[in-house]
């Protein structure tokens, strides 16, 4: 057994080509993955593809230039410079084509990069006696045959690109997230885009020797996308992406030795499986956790009905048997639902039975608000009285954010339902403490006058008056105080400062 493990894991390390591939691969994968995070967040993935294809023209151009001008064979720095020049030309052409014509950017990218790639292929075949570039090698890459000069290029590129990203991390972050704000802060957005694109082309150049033109995009975006599945912060996403890049190279290289396959292919295959694995098990956005969540889920309607049923007991505990009377579902589903609510800490159980927690009460209030608003709405459109409660009971479960705000403003922000019940406000706690101008009172709100300004002097309002706002149309506000109605102009209503009467106070009074 140990002999087998030794053979599988340690023996490859004794071979120089394997060690070199490991070293070069890791360095390249780290820098690819880190810059890849910015590439996927800025939705530039296709650009990586374009740049890698454009490279062959640059490499052969650089090779040819050094050969003809200085007689030097395969001079790496010249080929690197050639690649970057080809990349810049490609990007320039893409921008030019999409700017001056109706052709959209994705099409422009496709046209330009195949054109530049073709130019490279033609150059290589015309000058085949001067330059010795193996196109197949170029397309497929050869990580196991990596040369010392390639290693140096990778290390150089990684050092430059990583330092730029680390030093200007905040600028890259804000430019990717909100370019308009970045521009308003004087951050050179366009320059940063060029820096990023140049960085991507450098990285692509150093990665092509390992995995080849076709697979380089994968190395750029797959580890980054894997990290994206499980990160909520860009800095952590970059670190995780680097880690996934390293594991891809290590895993892939061993795979290639064991299977005796192409190195680049094995690296990308491992990388893809790694992505799929994380896609399945990711804690929040993963497929399995989604599936588990769905399986554990109880119908939203049941959950909401239970919460409101407990809320209607007004703070008293309710026994499980009594609660079951309110909902007509199978016992097993009912118990699962109660368990879920307990686990989510929306309800707790004490000696007498079940009670709502603060969070549970908040959620129940929201549903009650939806219910009462729907009742008011149904009444206002003339639904038959006997059916209103039942219909509202069904409608209250509709998408809260979309329906309730609409109903609320449609009905003029009522405070009471059709049977005079109080409609809970969305965030009572925030609202109640504020002193606001009378002008901002909503229809049906009750408030206490705190101060009366000059212009509102003739309104007869005094400090301490309790008033009820009737309508809040533009310009005029009608209020009633001790059953007498008054109409104030907008200016006067601006000067009267009132304090909303808190829900608790109102309860005490009634």
């Amino acid at each position: 057994m140990s002999g087998f493990l030794y053979q599988a894991f340690v023996e490859p390390l004794s071979q120089g080509f394997f060690l070199k591939a490991l070293l070069g691969g890791i360095v390249t994968a780290v820098v690819c993955s880190v810059i890849g995070c910015l590439v996927i967040l800025k939705r530039m993935s296709f650009l990586g593809d374009a740049l890698s294809h454009a490279m062959i023209a640059g490499v052969s151009g650089g090779y040819l230039f050094m050969k003809i001008a200085f007689g030097i064979e395969a001079y790496a720095p010249a080929m690197l410079a050639g690649s970057v020049i080809a990349a810049v030309i490609t990007i320039g052409l893409i921008g030019f084509v999409s700017n001056i014509s109706r052709i959209k950017e994705d099409t422009a990218i496709g046209i330009v990069y195949t054109g530049v790639f073709a130019a490279g292929v033609v150059i290589v075949s015309i000058f085949h006696d001067l330059i010795h570039i193996d196109i197949v090698h170029f397309i497929m890459g050869d990580v196991l045959g990596i040369a010392d000069s390639d290693l140096w290029v990778s290390a150089f590129v990684a050092a430059i690109v990583l330092s730029v990203i680390v030093l200007f991390f905040r600028y890259f972050q804000i430019t990717a997230f909100d370019p308009v704000m970045a521009a308003s802060m004087g951050i050179p957005v366009v320059l940063l885009d060029y820096v990023l694109t140049t960085g991507v082309s450098l990285v692509v150049v150093s990665a092509v020797t390992m995995v080849g033109v076709i697979l380089v995009v994968g190395l750029l975006i797959t580890p980054a996308a894997t990290a994206y599945l499980i990160s909520d912060r860009l800095d952590r996403m970059m670190m995780l992406a680097a880690l996934f890049g390293v594991t891809s190279v290590v895993g892939g290289l061993y795979l290639s030795v064991w299977l005796d396959s192409s190195g680049g292919g094995a690296i990308m295959l491992f990388c893809t499986f790694q992505f799929l694995f994380v896609l399945f098990i990711a804690p929040r956005y993963g497929i399995i956790s989604n599936w588990l969540r769905k399986k554990r889920m109880i119908p939203q309607e049941l959950r909401e009905d239970l919460l409101v049923s407990i809320l209607r007991k007004k703070g008293d505990a309710i026994s499980i048997q009594d609660l079951k009377e309110f909902v007509r579902v199978y016992a097993s589903l009912f118990h699962q639902a109660v368990k879920t609510l307990l686990r989510e800490r929306l309800i707790t159980s004490d000696k007498k039975g079940l009670v709502l927690t603060d969070r549970g009460e908040e959620e129940a209030m929201k549903i009650l608000r939806a219910h009462r608003l729907w009742e008011s709405y149904l009444q206002s459109v003339g639904a038959p009285g006997g059916e209103i409660h039942q219909m509202a009971h069904q409608l209250e479960h509709l998408e809260y954010d979309q329906s309730v705000g609409y109903l609320d403003s449609k009905l003029g922000h009522p405070l009471h339902g059709p049977h005079g019940e109080y409609i809970p406000e969305e965030s009572d706690k925030i609202e109640a403490i504020k002193a606001i101008p009378l002008k901002d009172l909503k229809n049906g709100e009750e408030a206490e006058v705190i101060s009366v300004g000059e212009k509102a002097g003739k309104s007869g309002l005094k400090k301490g008056d309790i008033i009820l706002s009737k309508t809040s149309m533009i310009g005029k506000i009608t209020i009633s105080r001790k059953k007498t109605k008054k109409t104030l102009s907008k200016d006067a209503a601006m000067q009267v400062i009132v304090r909303l009467v808190e829900r608790g106070e109102k309860k005490k009074r009634s």
Partner: protein, 259 residues
């Protein structure tokens, strides 16, 4: 810089002269000139595609004008980096971006921090204060996509507050939020106004425009009107600009007439 601004009180917060902007062959803004006095809350209204958002983006320096001049507090806008805060339209934000509430608000401090150093105590205090003002302190470590619509809007309000800018530009802050959030945002805006900040707000709801703003800018490519709401919200003028797409306003007029 602050001192200079305070001394020259007669100078408008924003002055635009003959501004023209186009995307490709399509003119978006044509020959717009206006002056926004300081300390006002000004609404920008106009139909869809009228160039409201573009106007904001030009002032922010994100879109290059073809022609024209923009001065903010008397200086060319290129020199006043970070003195203008921006609250984007909710639909234009990438809510899946791996970033937390606290990090977004910290962006407001980036122009107070040099590129080689990390945010200091002042910056963290400003972020705390801004989060508290819009009441989302407990959401600080959440990823922004996990918030409700109203909370998302408040994150960007907090960012604008943390920036401490004298001019705030907001792109449809009231779109798609519930009544409670609308009031909370309005509250934050009026406080900013009280502190002497100038606010320019793209707004789509004509019914509330008169109530919320001191002055209105009515645009559709050209500037149609700029002044107090009662001078701008005239049926004739609005009919011309909205070309009959103004059902909501007709509704409003009938309600007024019925009273």
């Amino acid at each position: 810089m602050d001192k200079i601004i305070k001394k020259k009180t007669g100078i408008p917060a924003l002055e635009i002269k003959n501004l023209t902007v186009s995307y490709g062959h399509k003119p978006v803004l044509l020959d717009i000139s206006l002056k926004v006095e300081r300390g006002l809350m000004v609404g920008v209204i106009g139909p869809n595609g009228a160039g409201k958002s573009t106007l904001i983006k030009v002032v922010l320096g994100f879109v290059e004008p073809d022609f024209g001049e923009i001065q903010i507090f008397g200086s060319p806008f290129q020199q006043l980096k970070g003195k203008v805060a921006y609250v984007p339209q909710r639909g234009s934000v990438d809510w899946d971006f791996p970033i937390t509430v606290g990090q977004v608000v910290m962006m407001g401090r980036y122009n107070h921090v040099s590129w080689w150093s990390s945010p200091g105590k002042d910056d963290r205090d400003a972020v705390d204060k801004a989060l508290d003002l819009v009441r989302i302190t407990d959401l600080r470590d959440r990823q922004i996509g996990m918030l409700s619509g109203g909370q998302q809007q408040r994150v960007f309000m907090a960012r604008a507050l943390a920036q401490g800018a004298d001019l705030l530009l907001l792109d449809e802050p009231f779109a798609g939020v519930d009544a409670a959030t609308e009031r909370a945002i309005l509250d934050v805006l009026s406080n900013a106004k009280k502190n002497g900040q100038t606010l320019i707000v793209v707004h789509h709801d004509l019914l509330t425009a008169a109530e919320y703003f001191d002055k209105l800018i009515l645009i559709k490519q050209r500037l149609f009107a700029y002044g107090p709401p009662k001078d701008v919200l005239k049926p004739g003028l609005l009919g011309e600009v909205y070309e009959g797409r103004l059902a909501i306003f007709r509704d409003f007029e009938t309600r007024e007439a019925l009273k």
